[in-house]
Structure formats: structure tokens, C-alpha cells
């Protein structure tokens, strides 16, 4: 009889492994969402000079558990005019792609669902499927706020997918693989990819904020203008699945991609001696970016839809294309050295960051001139 890992028959081990992996992913998604909601509340409270939750449990740690229990025990409310099956299917359509992307996240050396050779493409694909669920949710709610939210998210998510994928392409060009494991392995030592490709990291991070509907890009559910956007008609655990689980799960996935691609994934001091330490490094890095996203949320106001679109199509996409051309040319010209790519990329970062105020000032000037030109005849007619 063949003996597999832990002395278990491989025939039993194969399905058992699947069950363990799915159970573990669900466990991490559920607890990650609870932890991140708590972090979100506490961090925003600290930044806004408040206390945040502190009544339930020590430091208010059990507050989100109480909220989750409340959501589960809530009555399942459905407005009469909602669109039957679509309304029920939408939370699943948002949740399933997010859960499926956990299959390729490399937590440590051998702790990964599967080493897919197109891992990066797989993650992008699943990220693009979330839009479908959001649009369906907005449509099925039969509510004008939800519909506007759904339409906004369709426009926003499809647009920001392009710079996101273009930023990933430059990493694939440098590393030469789409497998999450190979990408992590290529960054041994202190020279992680962010030192070589800081500009693609910047583009990806901005686009990822938009892809996960985080402030300043949370237009699909803008509370102050659209009630709750595409989530308006949802309540109870349907709302919990969509907002809490899927959004925070997506944030975790995106931060895991950033960690793997630009910050060396599980690698860190002492990993060679104790491979399990990789899980700790990976989680710490991922939560570092999650906290950064929360910090941005507490700092920046929401953009307008036209600003959002023009920033993507006139700013991010051209710069991402320039980045790809530069990286590809330099990778062909200097196949043995990454230094020219790094120099070019840092130069692009400087150009981008320094260019924003310049472009903004010119835009404001034209806008003011236009406003003055259109106001002048009206004043003339009044006088």
C-alpha cells in the first residue's frame, strides 16, 4: 500500500487535503474580515481622535464578533420588487471569485494551495469576475441608488483593471514567470522587486485601491451621495457576505499580491532555518499594506466620477504603457543587469509624482478660464 504524507493513503489524502485547504481558506477569510473591521474602526478612531469600540471585550476586541452574530441572526429582508434569483445570486457571485483566489496565495515555502504556472493571470481573472456580481446586485435591487452604484462600479472596475494588468506585466517581464512561487523565489536577499520596479508598484497600488472600492475610489457605494450604492437593498448576512467578507477578502488578496510581487512574499530573516516563519512574515507584510490602505481611507476624501475616469485614462494608463516600453526595452538591451531598469523606474516615479501638481495647475487654469468665459456673457446680459 502506498503511503502519502503523514502516513495516510494518498487516495484518502487527496480529497482530505482539499477539504483542509477549503476549510482553512474559509477560516482565514472569516477571521480576517472580523480582524480587519476591528482594525479599520480602531485606526480610523485613532486618526480622527476618537476612542473607537471599547465596550465589548478587552479593547473592544469582541465588538466585531458581536456584530457578526447580529448579522447572522437578522431577518432575511427582501423588497418585493427585487429581481428574484439575481438578488440571491449576486452575493455568491461576489464572494466565490474572492474565495477561489486564495488557492494560489503563497503563505510560505510549501504552504500554498497549488503552484499554478499562470498564478498571476488566474488572480487577475478572478479579480475581474467580481464586477459581474456587483453589476448584477445593482441591477437586481431595482433601486435607483443601487443601479447608479452598479453602473459606476462597472465603469470604474473595468477601467482600473487595465493599469493593474499593465503594472503586473512589467513584473512578469523582469521575473520571467507568472507563478507566485517563482516570483517569490526570484527575490532572495534584500533586493526585493520594489527597489527595481517602484513605479509599477505605485500604479498597481493606486489601481488596487480602485479595484477593491476603497476610499478615495469608493464611488460605487458612496454613503454620502448614494445611501450605500449597490448594497442599498441588502441587509443581514447577504450584506455581511458582500461587504464584510468579500470586500475585506479582496483587500487581503490584493495586499497578498503586492507582498508577493514587490516585497518578497514569505521571505524574511530566519526563514531558511524555520520555514514556518514564512507565514508570519507574509501575514505581517500583508497586514502592513492593509493598515496603509486604512490610513489612506482616513486621510483622503472621495473623488468625483469624472476625476476618477480621467485620472485612469489620461494618467495611469499612458504612464503604465511608458513603464512597460521602458522595462521591456531595457530588459532586452541589458539582459544581465537589473540596474538600468531600476534607474528608469525610479526616474518614472519622480516624473509621475512631480508631474501631478504641474498637470493639476494647468487643468485648474483651463477650468477657470472656461468658467470665466461662460460667465461673462451672462453678466453682460444681466446688466
Amino acid at each position: 500500500m502506498p503511503v502519502g504524507p503523514f502516513g495516510i493513503d494518498p487516495f484518502i489524502w487527496a480529497p482530505l487535503r482539499l477539504v483542509i485547504a477549503v476549510g482553512l481558506a474559509l477560516f482565514l477569510v472569516l477571521n480576517g474580515a472580523l480582524l480587519q473591521i476591528y482594525l479599520e474602526r480602531k485606526i480610523q478612531a485613532i486618526i480622527q481622535d476618537r476612542l473607537g469600540p471599547y465596550h465589548v471585550g478587552p479593547f473592544g476586541l469582541l465588538q466585531t464578533f458581536a456584530d457578526a452574530l447580529k448579522l447572522i441572526s437578522k431577518e432575511d429582508v427582501r423588497a418585493a420588487a427585487t429581481d428574484g434569483w439575481f438578488f440571491v445570486a449576486a452575493p455568491a457571485l461576489v464572494f466565490c471569485p474572492m474565495l477561489a483566489s486564495w488557492a494560489v496565495l503563497p503563505f510560505a515555502q510549501d504552504i500554498v494551495g497549488t503552484n499554478l504556472n499562470i498564478g498571476l493571470l488566474y488572480l487577475t481573472t478572478l479579480g475581474s469576475m467580481t464586477v459581474l456580481g456587483i453589476v448584477i446586485a445593482g441591477w437586481a435591487s431595482n433601486n435607483k441608488y443601487a443601479l447608479v452604484g452598479g453602473l459606476r462600479s462597472a465603469g470604474q472596475l473595468i477601467s482600473y483593471e487595465i493599469p493593474q494588468i499593465l503594472a503586473l506585466v512589467s513584473v512578469a517581464l523582469v521575473v520571467g514567470s507568472l507563478s507566485m512561487i517563482d516570483i517569490t523565489r526570484s527575490q532572495t536577499g534584500p533586493f526585493v522587486n520594489v527597489l527595481i520596479l517602484p513605479f509599477s508598484f505605485l500604479i498597481y497600488f493606486i489601481a488596487a485601491l480602485a479595484e477593491t472600492n476603497r476610499t478615495p475610489f469608493d464611488l460605487p457605494e458612496a454613503e454620502s451621495e448614494l445611501v450605500a450604492g449597490w448594497l442599498t437593498e441588502y441587509s443581514g448576512m447577504r450584506w455581511g457576505t458582500m461587504l464584510a467578507l468579500s470586500e475585506y477578502g479582496n483587500v487581503t488578496v490584493v495586499c497578498a499580491i503586492i507582498t508577493t510581487l514587490w516585497f518578497g512574499g514569505w521571505q524574511g530573516p530566519g526563514v531558511d532555518a524555520i520555514p514556518l516563519l514564512g507565514v508570519l512574515w507574509f501575514t505581517l507584510k500583508v497586514y502592513g499594506f492593509i493598515v496603509l490602505m486604512m490610513w489612506i481611507r482616513a486621510t483622503l476624501p472621495r473623488l468625483r466620477i469624472d476625476q476618477l475616469m480621467s485620472f485612469c485614462w489620461k494618467g495611469l494608463i499612458p504612464m503604465a504603457l511608458v513603464n512597460i516600453v521602458a522595462v521591456a526595452t531595457l530588459a532586452l538591451a541589458f539582459p544581465n543587469s537589473l540596474v538600468p531598469i531600476a534607474i528608469a523606474n525610479w526616474a518614472l516615479v519622480v516624473v509621475f509624482v512631480a508631474g501631478i501638481p504641474f498637470v493639476q495647475r494647468r487643468r485648474l487654469k483651463t477650468l477657470r478660464a472656461r468658467a470665466r468665459a461662460s460667465a461673462a456673457p451672462a453678466v453682460h446680459a444681466a446688466s
Binding site: 439575481f86 499562470i118 478572478l126 469576475m129 464586477v131 459581474l132 448584477i136 441591477w139
Partner: protein
């Protein structure tokens, strides 16, 4: 004991999904349901590509058809006129003619497909990415470029057709 029986079973399920989804897209009255079922059909097609060992094509199928094109179709549906009442099937009167045309297209495809595609599929278990990239950029570079030019022309055409006038000019014209 092996898992050989799994592949035909999965293939059968996917085929049923593709055919049933396609039939439902054509037959259903509700256009949103048709759009969603089209996404389902695309997903089943992606599953078939995975069975053939072409994971990259499957990923692009989902990325482009499910993630972008279906969403754009839904986007279009939301802007069109929508009535709740039951309507007559769109293809009611043309059914016999449509059946003839479908047969005229489908029968040669099936015959050609069964006769000519006898080569073995690429080796399963991944690794189709380098082969795909090489063939796109060597053997099929010219069709690839033609397709990109076509897409560019379509994009420019769409922009020209839907271009709004400068808001300032429009305001001036309204005032006059």
C-alpha cells in the same frame, strides 16, 4: 485505483452546461438572465480549455468574456428600454429559416471538426504559456497585428460616433 473516470464526467457536465446555457440564452425572454447565462456558458467553455491543458486560454476567456464583455452587455442592457410584461419570443416567426441556417453552418463544422482535428492536445498539466506566446509572435504575428489594427479602428469609430460636443460650445449654442 485511478481517477481516469473523472475527466469524461467533467467533460459531460461542461458540455451540458455549454449547450444548455447557449439554448437558454437564445430562448429566454428576460435579457438580463440571458446575459448572465451567457457568462455561465463562457465559464463552461473555459472549463473545457482547462480540460484540454490550455489554462492560459481559459484564463483569458474568463478575463475578457466574463469579466469585461458580459459586464459591458449588462451595462448596455441597463440603458435600454425595459418592460416587465411577458413578450413574444423574438425569433418566433423565423424559426424554420433559422433552423436551416444553423444546420447549414453547424453540419460542415461538425464534419470538418471530426475529420481534421485528430492531433493530440498539448500536454496536460500546464506549460502552454511559452508555446502560446511563441506561436502568437512568430507564426501568427501578421493576423495578430491585423486584429489589433481592426480593434483600434473599431475603438476610434466608437469614439467618433459617440463623441459629445465641447460643453462650452454646446452652452453657447443653447444661449443663442
Amino acid at each position: 485505483m485511478t481517477f481516469d473516470f473523472v475527466e469524461p464526467v467533467v467533460f459531460a457536465l461542461l458540455s451540458i452546461g455549454v449547450i444548455a446555457g447557449g439554448v437558454a440564452v437564445v430562448m429566454l425572454n428576460r435579457i438580463t438572465a440571458a446575459a448572465l447565462l451567457m457568462a455561465f456558458t463562457f465559464l463552461c467553455m473555459a472549463g473545457m480549455f482547462v480540460l484540454l491543458g490550455a489554462e492560459t486560454i481559459a484564463a483569458f476567456q474568463v478575463l475578457i468574456y466574463v469579466g469585461a464583455i458580459t459586464v459591458l452587455i449588462l451595462y448596455g442592457v441597463m440603458f435600454t428600454k425595459f418592460s416587465d410584461g411577458p413578450r413574444a419570443l423574438f425569433f418566433q416567426k423565423q424559426t424554420p429559416i433559422a433552423a436551416v441556417f444553423v444546420a447549414a453552418v453547424a453540419v460542415p463544422i461538425v464534419i470538418v471538426g471530426t475529420v481534421s482535428f485528430t492531433s493530440a492536445p498539448p500536454r496536460p498539466g500546464g506549460g502552454d504559456l511559452p508555446a502560446l506566446a511563441t506561436s502568437v509572435f512568430t507564426d501568427f504575428a501578421f493576423p495578430f497585428e491585423i486584429a489589433s489594427v481592426l480593434l483600434l479602428a473599431a475603438m476610434v469609430g466608437a469614439i467618433v460616433l459617440t463623441r459629445r460636443d465641447d460643453p462650452e460650445e454646446a452652452a453657447m449654442r443653447r444661449r443663442r
